[in-house]
Structure formats: structure tokens, C-alpha cells
Symmetry: D2
Subunit: 330 residues, 4 copies
């Protein structure tokens, strides 16, 4: 299957290529970049040297010649490709935020008009696999909502409040230089940011509702001095005390057939570079609070890996194709 | 004033000496260590070389010849010195946990008998300065309870639940080698530990009660890939919504005369090596949650610096003596 | 092909399994561990959960039932398996130091008697591919000698002195806890160690000689605050000044058919998790010194990956089988 | 003594203020910044809050009203202040490169014309204390030349070649954002840069010559994933083999009266935040190479601390005034 990646430079683009190189059905034929068109993909993706021989191009949407497309461009840019790809029958996973939320919520959250809105399945396979299966376009979730939602999903309906306290590696901020990512500002610190109003919160609320939860959802992200990975510490306050047996049963049952969710101690080393989400939890002695901890690689299960997983489901491939590499520990 | 440090090797001991070197009244005459008795203090505290010329000794409690003592030994060891120092009229700050809690709670929390119990002021000056002033023995608080309590204190009485999600540098675990502090287990990760039942929780509850709070208190610490510092993200859920004006007024009023609490963005770089606690906060749009973030150096305001501050108050010295060095930024 | 890993816990063992999981011919049937016999391999290798279903065992050497063995045990332990495996016709790659050096040099370097010596090819394929091809036993090189030798090889014969100044991630010290690897001792520092007499030096000398070099070889390693990877800065002082053209020609010619050596800026991110060795160089303006910089992942090209590469050559598999995953950048 | 800091924002400016706060004679009256004029010094130097109450100003050179000035502006900017300050009788330490080298070498190295050249002592007190004592203007050395020169000075005259392989924390690059200092490009790596031709090399050569050395001097810096500190590994190749006794005698004699050079294991933790330079060394068994390792804090002994030390010498103050704070370990 011929594949195009729109916006293939950048961290998510690089990780998409890394994963697709091991996919049994994928044949990358097009990698676009406005800035780097005409130069080899390995110009910025130095890790791919000797493994891929392709130049960046910058075609118009109608010149993209592929069976499947990944949109790895920023929000508002994705909507300029989505509709036309759909019309041309090119199945697509969009890694941006443009199709994750209902239009009004999207426009309020991102402060922009949506010029090409349509409804698309929200690509957390563990929750929406059926919708994804038949789809020709899937909205790939944000990195924080993926880890947070998977941490709390099995018990979300029992909660009165859920506080997601997340810690993300710096690659989540992309490869663009800023004060925030200047080494001396990151190292030996852990800075909370967008403390009560991060743009990923509406996705978390939407998924909690989908799970039948009436809980109030709160979210505070932090910038972790690390390159990759998100640890989400989900503080789940229950409407009434629960027992450990019930919690255990729910988590085991919820994830028992999932290839990429493992119930074991959540450490970034366990998932680094892989599509796994590791989850462990501990119940307050009086049953009022569950602390569920999830670990994902923000660029894999939080972006490119989940995108490949969605592609696999959409196209009827083995769900783990291209995603069988374990994490890198240590 | 002649000063003895009981347990002067180790990180807290080293930082005590570092601070006392700049104190106008302090004269360190005795630094004890079982393991290193007979060797120079600069054997393990290499940063002090050229600045101090003193050997470790290992005297019995009755041979400690000083006007003031710091106990920087582990819990259960401190109680073997405390009563006798008190009887001998040697004013003391105890950095261990032995006198922070009522006896029954202490014994339950630490799983040991207390063999020399007496009541002592809890040494957070911002809350207990009056009690500290007249005291001859002060229990220096835990590092986590210091940062957490200061973060929430001004609004604790309005809260229904407070969740302290804390991130601590590795020096908090001391200089003893373990799996937990093995570099590849710490780096590029942020591990939650003792997720619902850390020993510092009872101190946090005690101080919340002291502040008139009826809130349910929760605490989850994490091991941050950094040497020094604790960021505590206090998620304060209110009984009923509050306004930003009220919150601001309370924080400003509560800390207006405090020499070591600053209301500014909490970053570890701002407080590293210093006795400051920096606090900033953000209110949820609907007024239901306040996120108050505090930054301290766990070895200074969280241990040795606060101990010196307590000594200053106990002895009538300027409260900032020995503590005027700013943090190290970057 | 059925494969046994002797000493499969530990970092090198874990990375061997990680790589073999993607190998088209390898079937891991035996993973030994004295300490963990009877428990699943995923007990300590948490990254492998869901991907491998095997328990550690602890068979005697005669009970190891496999076509191929990797010895990932410490030096002196390997020699207790090597000869018997050879006799039983089980092809073997030994990741320890036991067969890398002539017996007398080995015994002097490691301060022990060699009780089962025989001569084996030294497994840097870029230098000894022919010898490896026919071998039934290969000595896998040390991590430092691999990166260092590849950096200097093309010009080693022109050198009067070579100083290898190497910087290694902490995983090179293994998963055993020590003062050296205690987080606060590693972070925000870069400690040189075994400054003039590291055990890997004789391997470097041996390979320089093999390359026809009469240069005096020096080596100083440093402990880098990072988990994986070695950067070697090779300062090559020439007998007489050379030109950049000559240097470039030599490097390009030396590595032109090598699947795992790439002439591009050496960054650990480019090789992390992969079997690549990236090399760049810069010539002093007057031609007297070449600084050649190499980057490898110490656990892959510096251990397990090179072991798989050697296996591939010994067994006639594609040399890149099991080693096609790119590095993880960022 | 009234003090002005020209260019007081930035890392070196902040550290100057930090140190001067503990100086018995210094009274900071003027802190200039083009960008931040009119805002409090604590706007960017958050660690100084509560400790200093001063606003940035932007006066012309003739309006600077002080007894002593520090120039902490970039090279080429300093020369616009230096001559006029000299004429006005304001003693000055210049932290830039403008007066460190003879004019022709300066102009060649920095690729600019020097418009206000005069000769000034080079401010490494351990080598040039006498010249500094009488001076009204001192050129403060570069961070790398300081650590490198001190490492090799006692034996420089015996050397045929010296290779300085230095590793610097990221604060050395200043507070300006760049690709180079983007967290994911620094972390888990150690990048050599300006591998054969860094601008600090001429200073190293000049000081080697001053020490009577005819050695060929080479220099390769690396960017260490750390905030502060420089470890220089000086590989000193001798003209003929030396003995350890001779080396030891030379180092002890050279530094025996120096308040800020300590012969002990060089670790960044030992010197962090302080003006110390720690040095240890190891001699190759055959006496042909000495590896001397030095540790400094690049912002203190490598910049602001040495500047204060120079001020103390110029003004006849105690040389350690403002510099008595030990390093921060851990």
C-alpha cells in the first residue's frame, strides 16, 4: 500500500517513518515538507540514513499520489487537506486536532474557524475500534488525552472528580526552539504549564462522557526533563468508596484483549519507542481515591504509533503490524 | 554560639555546614559520624574543602559540648539524643521525624515504639513562629509537608479535598545507594512511589487541621530526574466556588511579612540552594479548583535551611542569618 | 534456528531479546538466569511483556538445547561455558571479555587465570568479517573498543599517537547498584574514571596493530549523564601532516560497503537503540590532528547488536536481519 | 564601593549580582539592560527576589555613576565602554573577549576591527596576580581557557602537545534560544562543536606561552547535558617521560597558596556555584602522558566569580570577599 505523509519533517513525521519501515504492507512513496522540499528525508531524520532513500516534496493536495495518507501538519493546516483527500478516496489518519472535537468546541478551544468540518471517529482503538474499522478518515487523539483516558477508563463512570496530573517529555513541544525548551529552563525542574486550561482538556472530557462518566474532569500538564514519554497520574475521586477487587476486575476485563495496554508498573523505560500503554494503580485505604498511573511514549502511542494502529484497523491489517518493536529499556 | 551537628555526614549534614559557614553567630565545634569518625569533614563533603578544618567525632550524648545541636540522624536514632540534650539545656532542632507527630500517630506511621517522647513545636515558622520562639527543642518538618503545606495554607480551610502531587529530586532519598536511585532507573522517567501512603502524609493532615481545614488530604510523591528540589502541585478542590480576588488576597495577606515565601512562578532554579519557597497559583475558570504550585529546595527549606531558620527564631537571631544566599539560577 | 541466551537478565540480555524478536530466523528457546530461574523473562524486562512468553531457567551447560548460544555473563563466567558449547557444536558469540585478547594479555589485564583458553575471531565485522564468516565461536568486542576503533581505523596507520576520550552512558555499568551510578553522583557531572588504565585499552591496542598502526594508544573514559550511548572523541596526532582530501577518501573507501557505519554527524540520538555507528571528523587547519567522533549505542553496536551481526555472518543470514530498526530520534 | 554592572541581565550578570550580595564592600547601584530598562532586576533574575530592589537602567557610558564597573556585554559591545570608563577613572573588569588577546590576534579570531584597543592584564589571578594588583582595567578570561590553563599550568613547560578535551554545561551558551540548546538536542547526548577551531583556543595558547611552554595546543569542546560547570580533561603528552613525584611536587607547589584551587577529585558538584577550581591528575604508567582533570563552575570561576576575585585584587580587598560560599553538593 502506497503511503504519503503530509508534514513528514518534525518529530511525529520522523517516528511515523521509523515505524512504517517495519510494516509489512506499507510503502512510503511521498513525504512532504514545505521547508525541506528537494532535500533527502535523512537531512533532518539522521537516524533513518541508509534505511530510506526518498526526498521531501511539496505537492498540492491533488497531486498526492497514494492509497493512504497521514496528516502530520499542525491544526488548521490539516483541514486544508482533509476534505479533498476524503473526496479523492484516499484513506487518512489526521494527527492534528482538527477533527477530534465537535465543531463548536473545536472553534472555541483553538480560537479559529473550522473551514472544512466533518465528523470523524476519535482514534483511541481501545474505546472506538468499531467506528474506526469502517472509517476512511480517523482523527488521531492528542498525546495527553490518550494516556489520561486509558488510565481512568475502566472506572471513569464511578468517579465524581478526576484530576489528570501529567508529566510530558520535551519532544511533545516539537522541534521548534523556544524559551520553554531552552535546556537550562527545562533541566533540574518540572514546570507546570497551562495549569487549568490546556487545549487537550476537551478531548478528555469528551472521552469521559463517552465512557458514561459524569465526573468533573481537571487537567494539569508539566514539562518533564526528558525527551520522550508521558506519565499521567490520574487521581480518581469516587462518588462512593470502592473495593480493590472491583477495581482490579474492571481493569483486567477492560483491557484483557488489548494488544497495546499492559497492566504493569508504568515506567517510561518500559514503553519508550513502542506503542504500549502501561498502567498500574493503587487504591486509597478507605476506597475514596484511586491513583491510576499510565505511561506512554508521546510520539508513539501518543501520536505516530496510534496513527499506524488506526491505519491497521481501517485497512484490515494485523493491528500490531509495524508496531511489534518492544520499548527500549533501559 | 558553639554548634554540634549529630549526623553530619550525609546530604542534610553537608548542607547544614554549608549554611552555617555564612552565619554570623554560629561556630561549628562538633560534627559527629559513626562511620567517618577520625576523618576530616571534607572527606565526603568535598565542596567544603579549604572552608572548614574539622574532623568527624563520635562522642556519647553526654560528651557533646555545645550550646546548640542539630540532630541530622535517621528517625529512631534521634530519640536517643533528644531527651538528654534537653535535660542538659542544649537547645536542639531535630531534623528527623521523631518529634513531628503525636506519639500514637508516630508509632503507627513508622511502625516503632517511641522510647523518649515529649511534645515539641512543629517547625514551619510561617505557621508556628510563636511556639518556636520560646522553645528549646523544635521538630523540623519533612520536606514534602513543608512545600505542600505552604502551597495550600492560605486557602486550606475552604477546601473539601486537597491532592498534593509532588515531584522530588533524588537527593531526598539520601546518599545511600539503591535500585531506586540507580541512574538508569531515574533518568528519562518520573516514578510515583508510595502512591497513597507515604509517611509524610500524617504531617500534612496535622497541619491542615491546624489551619482549620476539614479537607480530606491526599498525597502522591514522584521521583524527579533532578538532584535537588521539590515541586508540589496542590490540587485544591473547594467546598464551593471561590473568586480569584479572594484567593489572591488570602495568599498576599498570609505571606506578606514572610522573609522566605515569595509569590512568583515556582521554578526549582529560583530556589536551588536557598531557603525560599516560591508559590504561584491558577484558579479553574469556574472557581472549583485552585492549583497552587510551590517550589523549595528539599535540602534547604525542606531540611537544613529551615532548621537554621528555626535556630534563629529560637535564639533570637535575625531570622535570615546564614540564609541570605539567593538560589542558583540557572 | 533455536537460540539460547546464557545470562539473559541484565541490560545486554534484555537488548539481545529485543533485537531477536525482529529476527526472521531466530527462535529464542532458552534464557538462563541464576537469580531469576523460574520467573518470567518479563519480570525484569518489563518492556518485553506481551511480546515473549518464556521463563528463565538455569540449566547446566550440557542441558542447553539450542543451535546457537549467546554468552551474556561476566568475564570468567563465560569461560565455563565456552569450550563445552564448542565441543557440542553449538555456535556461540561471547559478549564477555574472555576471548578477546591473547591469553597472557587477558590474564594480566583481568588479574585472573584463563582456564579454558582458545583463539577466537574478534568480532568487529568491519575489520574481521572474513574470520567471523567461518567461525563457530566469536569474541564480541568491548563497547569502548568498538566505537574507538571504528572512529580511527581508516587513518590509524598514519598516526603517531591516538587519544580516545570517550563518554559513555550509565547503562554501560550494568544494572548493579553502586556509588558510581547513584543518581546524584552522575547527574550534572561527567566523571572521568580509570583515567589511564581501563581494561578495554588492550583491545584498542590490538586492533590498532591489526590495522598496521604503530601509534601509541591512550584511552580515558568518562561517565556521561545519559542512559545509553558512547561518544568517542578520537584525537589522532599524525606522524606528518595530512590533507583533508586524503582523510575523506580513506573514510569513504573504508566504510563504503558497510551496512552499519554511516559518515554523518555523530549524535547519540541518531544511533539510540540501533546497530549503527555514526562517524564525523574534522582536520586541524595545519593537518597535524584529526578529531574523529563516533557515536554508538553501547548496548547495541557496543554489545547485543554487534553480537547479532556476528551471528548473522557466522550463520550466513542477511547481515542486517534483526537489526533493521532505525535509531530513536529524538 | 558603588558598583555598576553593564549588561546585568543574562546568566553572567545574574551570577555577578548573586555573589556581590554577599560582598562586604560592594554596593550595587547600577544594573544596565537595553531590553529590560525600567523593569526590576528580579524580572528575569527570579532567584534574587526579596534580596535586591533595583531597576534596570540604560545610561550612556558617561552617565554611569559608580566606583567600579563590570562589563558583562558581548564582545565588540565592551569596547564601546572600556576606554571611556578608563578615562573617567572607573576601575573595570571586562568579562567579554575584547581585551584578552593582542589586537591582531583578536581581530583575526573574532573577524572584527578593534576600535578602542589598549593592553590589559589577563585576569587569571593564579598566573597574573601581580599585574592585576596595580591595574585599573582587567580582561576577565574565557571560561574554557580558565579551567584548561589551570589544569595544565604546573607542567605545561614539559609538554610537547596538550589536548584540552572540555565538557561544558549549557549555561555557557547564554540564555538565548537556539537549535543547539533545544532540550531534545542536548539531553542524552554530548555533542562536540567547533572541534578544532574554537575562539578560546588563542587564549589557551597565549597562557601556555606565558608559562614557558612550547607545546602544540589543541582544544575540542563538548556540550554536556548539564546546566553549569566545565570539566576539562587535559591530555598532556610530555617531551620525555616524567615521574609522579615530580608532577605531584609541581602541582602542590604551584597551587599551595591559592585560595581557590584545590587538589582533589574534580567533580562539578564540588564546585557548583562556587569560585573553586578542583584539579586531580593521573600519570600514564610509562610517564608519557598526564591526564589532568579540572572542574570549575563556568559562570563563577569561569566568569563572574573570577571577575569578583579580580576586583578584590585590584581594590585591595580580601581576595575571597564575596566568594566564601562553598559549592553546592550534591
Amino acid at each position: 500500500m502506497d503511503i504519503a505523509i503530509v508534514g513528514a519533517s518534525g518529530y511525529a513525521g520522523g517516528d511515523l517513518i521509523r515505524l512504517l519501515l517495519t510494516h509489512s504492507q506499507a510503502n512510503l512513496v511521498c513525504a512532504t515538507s514545505r521547508k525541506l522540499a528537494g532535500t533527502p528525508v535523512t537531512k533532518d531524520h539522521i537516524h533513518l540514513k541508509n534505511l530510506i532513500d526518498l526526498d521531501y516534496t511539496n505537492p498540492s493536495v491533488d497531486k498526492i499520489d497514494a492509497d493512504f495518507a497521514f496528516l502530520a501538519v499542525p491544526h488548521t493546516a490539516a483541514m486544508q487537506y482533509a476534505l479533498r483527500l476524503k473526496e479523492r478516496g484516499i484513506k487518512t489518519v489526521d494527527l492534528s486536532a482538527d477533527y477530534r472535537l465537535p465543531q463548536t468546541i473545536y472553534e472555541k478551544t483553538y480560537g479559529v474557524k473550522h473551514t472544512a468540518y466533518f465528523k470523524a471517529p476519535y482514534g483511541i482503538p481501545e474505546l472506538h475500534r468499531k467506528d474506526i474499522r469502517g472509517a476512511d478518515f480517523v482523527a488521531n487523539p492528542g498525546c495527553f488525552p490518550t494516556g489520561a483516558t486509558l488510565a481512568a477508563a475502566p472506572v471513569a463512570d464511578l468517579a465524581a472528580q478526576i484530576i489528570y496530573d501529567s508529566k510530558s517529555g520535551v519532544s511533545g513541544a516539537g522541534d521548534s526552539v523556544s524559551e520553554t525548551t531552552h535546556y537550562p529552563n527545562v533541566d533540574e525542574n518540572i514546570a507546570p504549564y497551562k495549569i487549568t486550561a490546556h487545549r487537550h482538556l476537551p478531548e478528555m472530557k469528551q472521552e469521559a462522557e463517552f465512557l458514561g462518566s459524569t465526573a468533573k474532569i481537571y487537567f494539569t500538564p508539566h514539562l518533564l526533563p526528558a525527551i520522550r514519554g508521558i506519565i499521567t497520574t490520574a487521581h480518581i475521586l469516587f462518588k462512593k468508596p470502592v473495593t480493590l477487587e472491583e477495581v482490579q476486575k474492571r481493569y483486567e476485563s477492560f483491557y484483557k484483549n488489548e494488544p497495546f495496554v499492559r497492566l504493569q508498573t508504568a515506567k517510561l523505560g518500559g514503553v519508550r519507542g513502542s506503542n504500549f500503554c502501561d498502567i498500574n494503580f493503587e487504591l486509597e485505604a478507605d476506597g475514596t481515591r484511586l491513583v491510576a498511573v499510565s505511561a506512554i511514549d508521546n510520539l508513539v502511542k501518543g501520536a505516530s504509533g496510534q496513527a499506524v494502529q488506526n491505519m491497521n484497523i481501517m485497512c484490515g491489517f494485523a493491528e500490531t503490524d509495524g508496531l511489534r518493536m518492544p520499548g527500549m529499556f533501559p
